[in-house]
Symmetry: C2
Subunit: 355 residues, 2 copies
């Protein structure tokens, strides 16, 4: 019975009461010190801090939450994790959260087909203080519940039609406009456009930018060249393949409304025996990390993904601090990044061959 180091598994974790004892104060005071309450005698504060350190006290999160304190956890709803898009945004979020000492809990939307689960996890369960929604696809119902409860949330790269949400986005229409203009300046007039699902605001805006630019350049919009898409690589591949094999008069450039589908398009173009950009130019949207790694390096419209994450997180934290701030929309600038996937039309080599 002298030593018991073999069997005692669960050495009780040190609680606020232990600290109170060790420092000759009460739990309430310890709590005050810990939460930075102002009116605590200097000497008391010191004694408490010393005990905290000596005992290695760490607050119990569930207890704190339950009692009405901050959990310092925010929910992060993402569609998936295996592409650079989400990762880059998440990186920005994490940075902003880190400096405020918050941690994100991850909810992947692919597993929340019914609203209940997500709704449950995110709000009713009382764990998170706020929600960051990365490019959420299913909106209305969730958002209504959130707003109804005055639960802080911000949308990233997606807009709520009601204009009542906090959102961080980028100049989608403008970005698409410039990209299209760039293509036109290169001499292209037959430009295919792979759009995203029209339930997604950014997809609509990009399409609009494309059409506007064409119109402003005096090029008629050809509906046959506007391809149904869903922002997925596979879709970009298939839709492009179909187009190129259709035998109709081919486009000389393809504007994929996100990089992922642009990658798919690149594969298809090459499989059909064309080269990029000599035969067909390709331009994307997002500038995910892979864009500068594919061959040829993808010319694309850059969204400041990491920054968007950072801004969104800050915005959320701000709302958590002041629950009554009015909804705010933060639109960051896109930027055309010219790399190697677009060339002039007619292509240089044609001119040379013709000469």
């Amino acid at each position: 019975m002298v030593d018991d180091n073999s069997s005692s598994n669960k050495r009780r974790t040190v609680t606020i009461a232990d600290v109170a004892n060790a420092s000759g104060t009460s739990g309430a005071t310890v709590s005050r010190v810990l939460s930075g309450y102002e009116f605590v005698k200097e000497s008391t504060r010191n004694r408490v801090m010393e005990a905290v350190k000596r005992l290695g006290y760490v607050a119990n999160l569930p207890a704190r939450s339950l009692a009405g304190g901050r959990s310092r956890i925010i929910g992060l709803l993402v569609p998936n994790l295996d592409n650079g898009y989400v990762g880059t945004i998440a990186q920005g979020i994490d940075q902003a959260l880190a400096s405020a000492n918050y941690d994100p809990i991850l909810y992947t939307s692919h597993r929340h087909p019914g609203k209940e689960t997500f709704y449950a996890n995110a709000i009713a369960n009382g764990l998170t203080e706020g929600l960051l929604l990365v490019a959420p696809q299913v909106l209305t119902t969730y958002l209504d519940s959130l707003r109804e409860r005055n639960f802080p949330y911000v949308l990233i790269d997606q807009t709520d039609a009601t204009e009542n949400s906090n959102v961080v986005e980028s100049t989608n229409r403008q970005g698409a406009y410039e990209a299209t203009q760039y293509l036109v300046k290169l001499g292209h007039t037959r430009i295919a456009f792979i759009r995203g699902a029209l339930t997604v605001q950014s997809a609509k805006d990009r399409l609009q930018g494309f059409k506007d630019a064409l119109e402003d350049c005096g090029i008629p919009v050809c509906e046959d060249l506007i391809l149904e898409g869903n922002y997925q690589q596979q879709n970009g591949y298939e839709t492009t393949k179909t187009l190129l094999q259709s035998g109709e008069s081919l486009p000389t450039a393809i504007f994929a409304s996100n990089d992922l589908s642009a990658f798919g398009a690149m594969d298809a173009v090459r499989e059909c025996g064309f080269s990029i950009p000599e035969d067909i130019s390709i331009i994307g949207f997002d500038d995910v990390p892979q864009s500068s790694m594919v061959y040829p390096k993808l010319t694309t419209v850059r969204q400041p993904l990491e920054l968007m994450g950072k801004v969104a997180a800050r915005m959320l934290l701000e709302r958590i601090g002041c629950p009554n701030l009015p909804p705010q929309r933060n639109t960051l600038d896109t930027q055309l990044i010219i790399r190697d996937s677009c060339g002039p039309y007619p292509a240089q080599r044609d001119r040379i061959e013709q000469a």
Copy 2:
């Protein structure tokens, strides 16, 4: 005073007591039903379930945790988020967790330089039921605390020297061995090796595999061709550049011990005016998603990243269920993925030119 829909912000969330009332039972019984306790009368169970559904009851997580229930949250410690490596593993983890109805809370290790913070977040705070450590760099101290408390955790793609941890890894030595052998078969004898930090077990194992293969092929190991690295792209770039510019007799192939540094090496090789694989072959390790997207597509040793995540999560869940299972090591197979970044030496075109 008739309607109050304008000012009542925090409509109380429905609790277990509400369900108890609505179903004419007690909180205890509701709790039993919810936790799947066997000995509850069928009719009672039905009444409770009905009330739960009707009221939209959702358990309060903090309360449940505090009272000693499961939080269904596991901590996921990752080095960062902005590369495919972590994303792919996380995707696997998320899948396995999802089917067990768990959610991951994300801890990024870059912000936990001191052990305290992480230790605090992960264990003492009472939120998580277990921990998944993706390629953790700092080990000993943490792991000791974890083990001491019998806190469930599993290491992914990193090994604990004490052999007392649960780990999921892959056949690093063997993979590197095969890759090297492949290079040798292609005719290469001057092979540079960019290694990872030797504090990382996988880095040591890969280096060992490289050396073993060379030896077995009767090729002397040239220490000058073993380059210090750290698994980062930037490092792969710099170290390769230095090597190529050193003017010494150049390698005909480079084995980067992870894909990220291989990408860096590719950049450097091209910047120095060589082409891949004609002048210099490059092989990587991991097979992150980008590997098949770069140009030329990277030949590499595939680690089943997603599977590793899945297996690790399952392993953890198992330990959470049975806290006394002995430490287990799960070593998954690597596989050589031959793509376009390696060629024969001397290169074909040389032979043709010579002919």
